[in-house]
Amino acid sequence: MAAIAQRPVSNNWAAKAREVDWVKVLAHIVLIAGSVVFLMPFVYVVSTSLKTAGDVYTFPPEFIPDPVQWANYPDALTAMPFDVFFFNTIFLALGRIIGLTLSCSLAGFAFAKLRWKGRNTLFFIVLLTLMIPVEVTLIPRYILFSKLGWVGSFAPLLVPGFFAENAFFVFLFRQFFMTMGQDLIDAARIDGCSFIGLFRRIIAPNAKPVFAVVAIYIIQNNWNSFLLPMIYLTDRSKYTLALGLRLFNEQYYSQTHLLMAASVFVVIPIVILFFFMQRYFIQGVVFTGSKG
């Protein structure tokens, strides 16, 4: 230790200076600045959500609330039945997870691993539907569901899920299954395994990551979804968090501290999900890119 400390300092410095990669230093500076910019809206909103009504309107803004008004959260969340909105959102997410993972994974399996006539044509249609904007199907679907008497219920949001309505998930499953070895599948077939048995016993158990990715995307999409629930869920007892927050936004327009508390509450489950499941969020992007 002593020997190291006694080494000529100036030499060491010169060596370090030569090693410094200025591009990396610059990258760090830009990234830190960028992170601050990306974080500031959170900081500002959370700090507002913890202020008293009187402290909200100050300029320049105080970023640390004094006093910290925790009561804003219970006040905001009891002003409307946010617990009901929360359970409705979870219920829809679960229903869509069951429907979409079942129907999309089976279709993805047929597209990836079975040999049949019409496969390429149909898969091309799957890819085409990825590019269809929501506007084009919005009105006929609404008319269909209103003629069925389903408007006002969860059915218009749940039922299409059982019919693989999300082409992106079909694509995602197919891409993942493509990467799975053919040898294992052929071996199972030789052993007399049926196709559905093949899917249940070999494909699905070895594809847990892609099921996790799709489930997480569904939860996130469902939390995000606004236009369709607004059209179909006419009764407040069936509102999702997004609809509830929009209603809250209308009724408590000027009570910024409560409004911010409510919107932070709606965001928190997704933030928690994101931090624990970040791996899967990122894997979804990687799966899409895999060749096939």
Binding site: G34, F59, S103, F226, R246, I270, V271
Partner: protein, 308 residues
């Protein structure tokens, strides 16, 4: 080797009926869904666009009159202008900023996981919450943005209350969600083989040259993908103007979908709204085709060289 030999014996050259039948059963939910919820509705909306229909009363044949109405509807042109302007500015900005952050994160830098999390997080947040939060952040007198500007002595505008600033405000806000694109670029960048950079270095390429002649061509298919996806997403923007500005002030944020939504679900003009949806569909299709047509000039596919 032995195993693959065995499989070759068992693998029939012609398609097996049993396998085909199974496949059709497995895709049948998707096929039904496609007919009921996508293909059918697309055709139905074309037919509905030739009618006047309020759902309650039976539809009445209207010929091309809905399309004629469109030509004299100033709000149709306004919404087309707003949405196109948004797409033209926001989509390229999102690509540049997203790619820029991805490039910074692709430099074997420390704390990459933390940075990636921070930049990606806003992109996964529910849009209604983001809209409610940003209405406050963009507030003229108490907002974060104008506080930031005031540090430089700039007196910020009423972002959401002045017609000339409302659309720029929504574009600015959309950049907060740039992390989704960043992640896709990052995956693309990390897929570029390091030999390419080493070869470029041997040829005397500096940082800029290796970006220009290796990174950019290799990432160009991803940029094309993001351009098309971003364009389609831009034409589906709804919650932000609906919650933050209600299309105002003076219709300066009247996005196409908002205009369509009002016609369909506030005025119950299903025929006219369907005509709006078909015009949009054609508009997006033409723009996408144009992008693909001109992409040949700047998008590089690795396979092209292999085939030469």
């Amino acid at each position: 080797m032995g195993a693959s030999f065995v499989i070759n014996i068992f693998k029939p050259k012609r398609l097996s009926f049993w396998e085909s039948l199974n496949a059709w059963i497995f895709v049948s939910p998707w096929i039904l869904g496609f007919i009921l919820f996508t293909g059918g509705p697309i055709l139905a909306s074309l037919v509905i666009s030739f009618t006047n229909w309020d759902i309650v009363n039976p539809p009445q044949w209207a010929g091309l009159s809905n399309y004629e109405t469109m030509l004299s509807d100033p709000l149709f042109f306004q919404s087309l202008k707003v949405t196109t302007l948004y797409a033209l500015v926001a989509v390229p900005l999102q690509i540049v900023v997203g790619l820029f952050i991805a490039l910074l994160l692709n430099t074997k830098i420390r704390l990459i996981g933390l940075y990636r999390t921070l930049f990606y997080l806003p992109a996964v947040l529910p849009i209604v919450s983001v809209a409610v939060m940003w209405r406050w952040i963009l507030s003229r007198d108490w907002g974060l943005i104008n506080w930031f500007l005031s540090l430089f002595g700039v007196y910020g505008p009423g972002w959401l209350s002045e017609p000339e600033w409302a659309l720029p405000a929504l574009i600015l806000m959309s950049l907060w969600g740039v992390g989704a694109g960043m992640l896709i670029y990052l995956a693309g960048l990390q897929g570029i083989p390091t030999d390419f950079y080493e070869a470029a270095k041997v040829d005397g390429a500096g940082r800029w040259a290796s970006f220009r002649y290796v990174t950019l061509p290799m990432i160009s298919p991803v940029i094309l993908f993001q351009l098309v996806v971003g364009l389609i997403a831009a034409f589906q923007v709804f919650a932000q103007p609906f919650i933050m500005t209600e299309g105002g002030p003076q219709n300066s944020t009247l996005f196409y979908l908002l205009h369509l939504f009002r016609n369909a679900f506030e005025f119950f003009r299903m025929g006219y709204a369907s005509a709006l949806s078909w015009v949009l569909f054609m508009y997006i299709a033409v723009l996408t085709l144009l992008i693909f047509r001109f992409s040949a000039a700047w998008v590089f596919y690795e396979g092209e060289i292999k085939n030469e």
